[in-house]
Symmetry: C2
Subunit: 97 residues, 2 copies
DNA sequence: ATCCTCCATCGTCTATCGGCGATGAACGAT
DNA sequence: ATCGTTCATCGCCGATAGACGATGGAGGAT
């Protein structure tokens, strides 16, 4: 869990996630074009996300496809929710939907 | 948001959070006793958590009180959920309560 | 064959993290 | 006044993260 959260704990990677989910086509190039970071840097961030299991990677030809793994992302969210829940463990009935 | 997640993205800090929420009394000493980390290290982690706004700090006398800020924690969880939601943007109606 | 584009990887640099021991301050107890 | 306890902070260090440029490979186009 800490690993997943670590992957998410960088503004650039959050931006990348949003970008990936915004457009159906998800080449590294496109992300680079929007993020104003060096291509190598973006590639690194993508690698981190892939290794964390949050993004799926599909090497077509030289055109790599990156896609958000919605299930994994939801899983992280659920884990965090569970942690919060376990931390509050009944002492905090308040729940902000 | 990345800041909050960064604070959470460390196993020791997650353990600390659980420990803090487990017992009503939350001295640094107690955490040290359970975590098998040096006192200075625990103090550092607590500082990180406090600076991230996830833990509230109350300097009583020489006995410092640390308490989980449930609302802040829930806020992070909500933010993450929102991110996931924005990433799936309607394509994932599944919702695990 | 020769470009050009896209991409991953490597090497480098700097900054930060994560751990520790040591130190000193604040306080209670003797 | 002198301990003992608790805690925050300060160096110090190895390791890692994050950024970049450069390199090279794989394809597509000419």
């Amino acid at each position: 869990m800490a690993l997943r959260l670590a992957a998410l704990s960088h503004p650039a990677r959050i931006e990348i996630l949003k970008r990936l989910s915004a457009s159906a086509c998800c080449s590294c190039r496109e992300v680079v074009d929007h993020l104003d970071l060096a291509q190598s840097t973006v590639s690194q961030h993508l690698k981190v996300l892939v290794e964390a299991g949050l993004v799926r990677f599909e090497a077509d030809r030289q055109r790599s496809r990156y896609a958000v793994d919605h299930a994994a992302l939801a899983g992280v969210s659920a884990s965090l929710t569970q942690l919060v829940d376990s931390c509050c463990s009944g002492s905090l009935p308040k729940r902000q939907d």
